[in-house]
Symmetry: D2
Amino acid sequence: MSKPIEGRGHGAFEHGEELCQAKPFVHRIRVHWGDCDPAKIAYTANIPAWALKAIESWWEHYAGVDWYQINLDRKVGTPFVHMNLDFRSPVTPRHMLDCEVTLKRLGHRSITHAVRAYQDGVLCFEGEFVAVFVDPETMKPRTPPDGILETIRARCSESS
Amino acid sequence: MSKPIEGRGHGAFEHGEELCQAKPFVHRIRVHWGDCDPAKIAYTANIPAWALKAIESWWEHYAGVDWYQINLDRKVGTPFVHMNLDFRSPVTPRHMLDCEVTLKRLGHRSITHAVRAYQDGVLCFEGEFVAVFVDPETMKPRTPPDGILETIRARCSESS
Amino acid sequence: MSKPIEGRGHGAFEHGEELCQAKPFVHRIRVHWGDCDPAKIAYTANIPAWALKAIESWWEHYAGVDWYQINLDRKVGTPFVHMNLDFRSPVTPRHMLDCEVTLKRLGHRSITHAVRAYQDGVLCFEGEFVAVFVDPETMKPRTPPDGILETIRARCSESS
Amino acid sequence: MSKPIEGRGHGAFEHGEELCQAKPFVHRIRVHWGDCDPAKIAYTANIPAWALKAIESWWEHYAGVDWYQINLDRKVGTPFVHMNLDFRSPVTPRHMLDCEVTLKRLGHRSITHAVRAYQDGVLCFEGEFVAVFVDPETMKPRTPPDGILETIRARCSESS
């Protein structure tokens, strides 16, 4: 059964957050032929998918766990509650797509990332992505297990 | 070569628009096993993809042309410049996913749709999607060919 | 950890099988703009994905359970061990894609489906797909729970 | 309109082919959370998609053109006419997925690749993929432009 996620909606994750001034983490994507539509540019729906892959790589790098590990091994789900995206310039296979991921806010209830993606120095898209921490079985809010937020904060300080 | 899309960015499509008070158009989607991730809910990146399919079905119904036809036969591209989405409740294969599409704004430069999607009466996600009209070869702004906006306006009036 | 699937490989599911002469089940797919690549035809990798969706719909119709239900509620996994596909004619959004699914072999260890897909009467692709029955936790072979094979056989007889 | 591809079907590309004994080319793929289904393994339909990406990377490496370039710049389409796949062991995000691509046959009408993919030394899947050379507008058979087959043959000799 589909369970509503408690704490979803804007305003639920406003308190106790802090800004982490890290240098952007860059996740490089090879755009393929099959990612493009007959307009010869990447089909729009691939773009949020790439942004999520970039954010998952950020997790692996900064928290030491990817989403598979944090969900299955650490019993923390991180479902998204919001995303917004502005598409600035078409994406094609002519260049690599460099997705810069920045941590914007980190709290005990939610985490916000910004993604800005470039091809050959041109900004192609940018967006913001908000996820919350939940128990993966009940989908109720939970705080991340000890150590994960500390690891992220420590690595962000190192890289800023 | 990746060409920047002129007129992209908020503010470019503010003037000359009008609200079309149509009843929502419903595009029904069957959620599949492979759409779900190990959390047993639809993977987030599928959601914007479904919203786009619902909007494309809206085009077919209200404008009489799908994106394949409007691009290849009528030489009008409709790239998205913005999307935002709030995820309210998880999507699963337990129920059909009914995507309600509403036209929010229609002008000579851009078109804005809202999508609200339900499973078993529960709001699962909602979002807004802004596309602009371009020449598909040059990616420069163009107005839609005669008849398309009129067709949309006429059908929206009928259904409101 | 990735566990090898026992009983995988050709020859493991040769015995005790029987042919079920059912009429083809038809699963209709709407091909979208974003399914096509710059050659203006459906990108190849979408084709096995559509065939699997058609087979999943067959399951829902003939066995009364989709893959989500058979896995999560009935504790039977049905991983594929083999697929082969011949691509006969390009798929486009110009017509609906009608995927005919036929049960070819059904045993206590494996199940084989054929899929033949048409647009406007033209054969676009055809293929064969072999899946095995496993315990979803251990990935070891298991027989399907009571009733599922009987339900399939009964419905196949009705429709032949 | 969907045009049938001439020369499709087995037997059309039997003559004038030759074996190119190259060392496998390895295309490494990072498996993501969203690639997995509720069985906690990669969803089957992602596997042919990955194999195609590996083959496209092979093209870029051995022919000096990816599918975007060969189609749009060189006016050669390379649609697949056949694929077969055996799934040997589940794919998960626990390890990188190394896709070995080998050229099996190369002629003036078709090209055949084998893909064998490993995670942590375990064979996960293997398959064969046959594509033909066509004019991308008419979908009629054509020979590849001068230089492409020669480039492939030269690079295969170097690497064998």
